[in-house]
Amino acid sequence: MKRHLTAAVAIGLATAMTLTACGGDDDSGGDNKSIKLVVADYGSGDGSTKKYWDGVIANFNAVNPGIKVDLQVINWDDIDSQVATMVQNDQLPDILQTGGYADKVADDLLYPVEEVMSDATRADFIESFLPAATVKGKQYGIPFTSSTRQLIYNKDLFAKAGLTAPPKTWDELKSHAEKLKAAGVATPFGLPLGKEEAQGEFMNWMLGNGGGYKTGDKYTVNSAANIEALTWVNDNLVKTNLTEPNPGTKNRKDVYTEFYGGSVGMVNSNPTMLTQIKAKYPNLNFGTAPIPGKTGPLAETLGVCDWMMAFKKNGNKDAIKAFLDVAFNTENSLKFQQENSFAPVTKSVMAKMVADPANAQLKPYIDLLPKAKFYPLNDTAWDVLSPKIKEQLGLAVSGKTPKEVLDQLQKEAETAVQQQK
C-alpha cells in the first residue's frame, strides 16, 4: 500500500516539476512601457478607491500617453500578505500604497524617495511625518494619507445625562461615563481593544499617561506608564461596566456601527467617521473634542499615516517619478483626502483644507497633525510586533492582568528585534 502511495506522489511531483520548468518568469524585468500600481482599498464595497485611482491614471496618461499603468486594488486585510507573495515570486509592484514600508527597506527593495520624487514635491510634506518616514537618515516612506484621533460624543445622549461639556481628564471621563450609564446609555464609552485596531486604541491611552511603545531606540511596551494606563482603563472603565462588554474582543468597525446607531456615548474616533455620518446618519447629533489624558486633554495625539513606496527595478525610475508627481499634485491629493475625510500629508493641501469652511468639522483633526505621534513605522520589528499587539492586547481586559500581557508583548518585541537583524 505504502509503495503505491509513494509511486503516486512521485508521478505527481514529476509532472509538477516538468511544468514548473516550462513556465518561466518573463515579466519581472525592466519594462518601462508599463508600471504596476498596487493600492489598498479604502472604500466599503463601493469601488470608490478604484474610481479615484482610475482618475489619477487618466490625469497621468494625459501627460504621459506612452506609459500604461496596471492598477490593482486590494482589500486592507489581505494587501500585506499578497504583496509578500508577489515579492516572494519576484513579481514586484513598481509603486505600492499600504500601511507600512520598513520591511521592504530592510531587504533593500525600495528607492530612497529623493531618487523618485522631484524636490518640489518632496518639500511639500508636513514635517511631523518625516521621522516615521526615514530609515538610517534616508527617506523611503512617502506619506500618502493621514489621520489623527479625537474623542467623538453623542450630544443627545449627553443631554439626556445632563452633561454639557466633553471630558478633559480620565477622572472626568469616568464620571461622565457613570452619568451616561445612569441615564440608561448601553455603552457609555466605546473601547475597541479587539484584534482589528488594538494597537491604536492602546496608544491613545499610553500617550495620555506620557508612555509610548518605544523610548529612544528601545522598545518599552511594559514601561510603568503603559502598565499604569492600561490598569486604569481596566479598573475604572472595564470592570465597572462603563464600556461595551468584553472590550478585548470588540473591533472598531462594530463599535463605530453602534455609535452611529446611537447606543454609544463616546468613542475615540477616526475622522472617516465624519464622512460616514454625513452620508448615512445625518440626524446624529455629535461633537468632537481632544482626547482626555490623565491630567488634561492630549496635545500630542496618535497620528496614523499610510504610505507609498517605489520598488527598485531596472529602468522604471523615470516612469515612477513621472507618476508620483501627478499622484501627489495638490489637486489629486486634495481630492483623495476630501473624499475620505482623511487628513492631508502635504502643506499645500493642508492650507487648502483648513481654509475651506466645508471642512469645519475636520479641521480639529487636521490641527493636531503637526504634533502627531506615529507608530515606530521605520522599524521592521514593529511590523512583526504590531500583529502580536493586535491579537494579544485584548487579554489585558479579560482574564490576564495588564502587566502579564505587556510583559509578554515586550518579550515579543525583543525577539522581533533580534530576528529582524
Binding site: 509532472t15 509538477a16 500578505s81 461595551e244
Partner: protein
C-alpha cells in the same frame, strides 16, 4: 490487464484516470510541495527568501507560548462538533425517514445551511448573538430567562460552545443526508423479522439499524473529521480566535502566524496535515475499517 487480454486495451488505465491524476498533481500536489519547502525556508516579512534554515520554523512554532492551548482547543472543537453532529444526525435521519405530512418541505429546510456559505451562516449567528441588539438575546430577555443581553461571543467560556453549535448546525445537513441514504439500504424484511420476534423499537434500533448503518456512519465521520478540522470561516467570523488565542484552532492560528512569519505558518500547515492524517487513521483503526474493506 492480462485478465482482460481478450479485449483491446493497449493504453491501459491512462486515458481513463490520466486526466484526474493530472488535475490533482497540477493543482493540489504542487502547492503541497511548495508548502513543505516553505516550512524549511527563512522567509522575511517582505517576502524575500533568505535560504534554508533547517527546522528553525518548527522550533519557533513549538516554542509559541499559546501553541498548547491552541492544540487543546482544536481537539475539543473537532471531537465535540463531529460527535454531537453524528448523534443528532442519527436522530434526525430517523425522524425524516418517517412518513408525515410535509416531509418534502421540511427536508428542504434541512438543506439550507448546506446550500448557504458557512461564512454567511456564521455572520448571521454573530449578529443574532450581539449583546445589545441580537435576536437571541432579545428573545431570552423577553422570556425572562435573562435580565439583560449577554455577550456570548466575548467570553471564551460561552463563545466556544456557541461556535461548536454553529459548527454542528452547518454539518448536520450533509451528515443527516448521508445517514438517510444509509437507512434506504436497510431492507424492510429485517424489521419485519424483528417485529415478529417481539423486539422493542429501541432494541431493534440498537441491534439492527445501527450495525447496518455502520458504513454510512463511517463515511460521515471521516468526511466530517476532515472538514471540521480544516474549518476556518466559523471561528474567523464569530470571534476571530479572540480574546488572544483563546478560541483559536490550529487552522485559524496558522492564518494569524502568516501575517508575521510565512515560514512558521507553513510549518504549522505541515503539522496540520499530519494531524488530519493521524485523526483519520486513528478513527479508521478504532472502527476496524480494514476488516471489512476490500
Amino acid at each position: 490487464m492480462r485478465k482482460t487480454s481478450g479485449r483491446r486495451r493497449s493504453l491501459g488505465p491512462l486515458p481513463w484516470i490520466g486526466p484526474a491524476v493530472l488535475l490533482i498533481a497540477l493543482i493540489v500536489l504542487w502547492p503541497v510541495v511548495e508548502m513543505v519547502r516553505s516550512s524549511f525556508l527563512r522567509i522575511r516579512r517582505s517576502g524575500v527568501v533568505r535560504g534554508y534554515n533547517g527546522t528553525d520554523n518548527y522550533e519557533r512554532l513549538f516554542d509559541e507560548p499559546d501553541f498548547g492551548q491552541v492544540l487543546w482547543n482544536t481537539a475539543v472543537w473537532v471531537v465535540s462538533v463531529v460527535g454531537i453532529t453524528i448523534v443528532l444526525s442519527l436522530a434526525l435521519a430517523q425522524l425524516f425517514n418517517q412518513h408525515f405530512p410535509g416531509r418534502r418541505v421540511t427536508r428542504w429546510a434541512l438543506i439550507i445551511p448546506w446550500a448557504a456559505s458557512v461564512f454567511m451562516t456564521a455572520i448571521v449567528f454573530r449578529w443574532m448573538l450581539h449583546h445589545g441588539y441580537g435576536a437571541i438575546n432579545t428573545l431570552l430577555v423577553d422570556l425572562h430567562i435573562l435580565d439583560e443581553g449577554r455577550d456570548w461571543l466575548g467570553e471564551p467560556s460561552t463563545a466556544f460552545p456557541w461556535m461548536i453549535a454553529v459548527g454542528v448546525f452547518v454539518s448536520l445537513p450533509f451528515t443527516t443526508y448521508t445517514l438517510l441514504a444509509g437507512l434506504q439500504t436497510i431492507p424492510g424484511e429485517v424489521y419485519e423479522a424483528a417485529r415478529m420476534d417481539g423486539a422493542s423499537p429501541w432494541r431493534t434500533y440498537l441491534s439492527i439499524t445501527l450495525p447496518l448503518l455502520r458504513p454510512a456512519v463511517l463515511v460521515a465521520v471521516v468526511i466530517n473529521l476532515i472538514n471540521v478540522f480544516n474549518s476556518f470561516p466559523i471561528i474567523w467570523a464569530m470571534t476571530g480566535g479572540g480574546p488572544g488565542y483563546e478560541t483559536d484552532t490550529t487552522t485559524t492560528y496558522m492564518y494569524k502566524l502568516k501575517v508575521a512569519d510565512i515560514g512558521e505558518s507553513a510549518a504549522l500547515s505541515v503539522v496540520n496535515f499530519g494531524l488530519v492524517i493521524v485523526l483519520v487513521v486513528v478513527y479508521l483503526r478504532v472502527s476496524r475499517w480494514n476488516r471489512e474493506a476490500d
